[in-house]
Symmetry: C2
Subunit: 359 residues, 2 copies
Amino acid sequence: MIMKCISSDELSIFCKQLFSVLGANENDAITASDVLISADLRGVDSHGVSRLTGYVNLWESGRINMNPEVRIIRENKSTFTIDGDRGLGLVVAPRAMDMAIDRAKIYGSGWSAIQNSNHFGIAGYHAMKALSHDMIGMAMTNATPFIPPTHGKEPMLGTNPIAYAFPAGEQQPLVMDLATSSVARGKIEIARRENKHIPLGWMLDKHGNPSQNIDELKDGGMLTPLGSLEELGSHKGYALGSFVDILSGVLSGANFGKWVPPFVSFLPLLPELPGKGLGHFVGAMEVDGFRSVEEFKLNMDVWISSFKNAKRIDENQPIYVPGEKEFNIEKERSITGIPLNDQVFRDLEELSKKFHIKL
Amino acid sequence: MIMKCISSDELSIFCKQLFSVLGANENDAITASDVLISADLRGVDSHGVSRLTGYVNLWESGRINMNPEVRIIRENKSTFTIDGDRGLGLVVAPRAMDMAIDRAKIYGSGWSAIQNSNHFGIAGYHAMKALSHDMIGMAMTNATPFIPPTHGKEPMLGTNPIAYAFPAGEQQPLVMDLATSSVARGKIEIARRENKHIPLGWMLDKHGNPSQNIDELKDGGMLTPLGSLEELGSHKGYALGSFVDILSGVLSGANFGKWVPPFVSFLPLLPELPGKGLGHFVGAMEVDGFRSVEEFKLNMDVWISSFKNAKRIDENQPIYVPGEKEFNIEKERSITGIPLNDQVFRDLEELSKKFHIKL
């Protein structure tokens, strides 16, 4: 696969211009671009500019409002619900997170359920907004259904990610950002392209049985919940995905379960939707309400170094703490630029032509 | 294995008397007993009266204060930290949860980090206290280290459970209560007693490699994080266990990681502890701050029935929603009584003799 490297600044300008052309105001275009580029910088390539065409398709199918009036529709001090007015999740979620942070400054914590939104990019970005305020950040979202419940063969849950960010002292912040599936769909796609074997537990066939035949992914195949197989605890991944779906979908008044609007614009919405759009849930807690920030950060550093220095299986294979690999990649890509594979680069070239934006 | 059935009322009186004899006041003895019996009623036998001897051993080794002065040591409106004064977690956690619920009544949500506590029984019990207030409840705790981080061979995390409880309408509430390990240690013990095979992914040997040799559990063997094997996402279970450890341990000022005090009294504490006792984290959010309770419950019912009615792999194998099996067992055991295996019954008989309490 041929790779081209483009600096994050250049890519960022391209994204920003694209969102502007689609009708976003200056601030929103910058925010949306920032979320996508942060994914590419952190090595989460599946959620960066490779998604641009998908967002454009959604916009073209009329499912995205580029000038949403994001507003609070219900609230009680530390808690509130946002109507995202069919905006890009890339824009709606950061606004909700800013408001949650403001609430946390007043009430110690702030929590926002969000309805009527769309795909919000990487969950980690939103959680990390809390860090500069010495807060613990949290973000989750429901997503296109790809996962059946244990014993089921109908996709009812998305990869429903959970992200948390904890500030540290000398060490990098601890950031966990994990899909509640065993693997991302993208990993199976990559294995297919590279003609590689996948382990038992990554995928189910359309009958709900574990399968290693990658071709079945396009024929009703599904992902497994974290835990992968029933005997290895798939009911736990199913429970975690449910937790995300209920906070993001049911609590907010968005859609949930099999009714969550798919990211790809060519799939139709189900009839008789129980809610509005896609749902997220974000929040922030001020460390200071629990413990002095200084003590907390000192102990976070102890936590992190004790895990990194735990006894290793293989001396040459380091132990990483959650988020560490992503910080390392970000450091590298800030210098080398962001590698784009052939397909993604071609997609960007097409967008460049179509919307007359210099790549 | 011979089973005896005892009614939950009789067992409850036994527990209550035992905690009273150990020095707990009337209210605390009732609460502690209630937490244990709820585990037995819900079928979580590993966390019910089978633990009584363990708690007594901890008390005898001087690690439990039966008359703790549970108090708030830091707070900011919706958030606060509790010093459990070396009390039973069975008593400290419900008190903290009551306070969190009180905060949620005022601020929409209430969150408590808890230090200087001990083993708190089943997490689900504490989360479920929120239900009668039309709140979403949450509880987690760190625990005896049994799990290495991915690429490690040193136990750094406990089974660190996460529990959430969501109220519903006509349906039973949705209650998830899951250890962030692939399986409970007890399941491997049962397999050993019954001479059964365990699947690859449940256990690691002392070198950190996957093992199916149950005997190695007593020889430095460890549990795997949820996700079980590296290729199936063990780093996600490691991240979830870390999340629980940091909220419960670092945020509260309790011990964390390898320093978490073990439940069994014969294992020594490590030197130079970074915190006080065991840590928990509990919280409650009022539904009404996000959405009308009526609408929320209606949609919870839709959520639950849509999952239960999703297409099945095997028509005869029902799909359960989180917590459903436990409600079914509770219904049954409320009538039939609680089955105790031979070993547990003998333990209770010994306690009965030792403390002169009628069984």
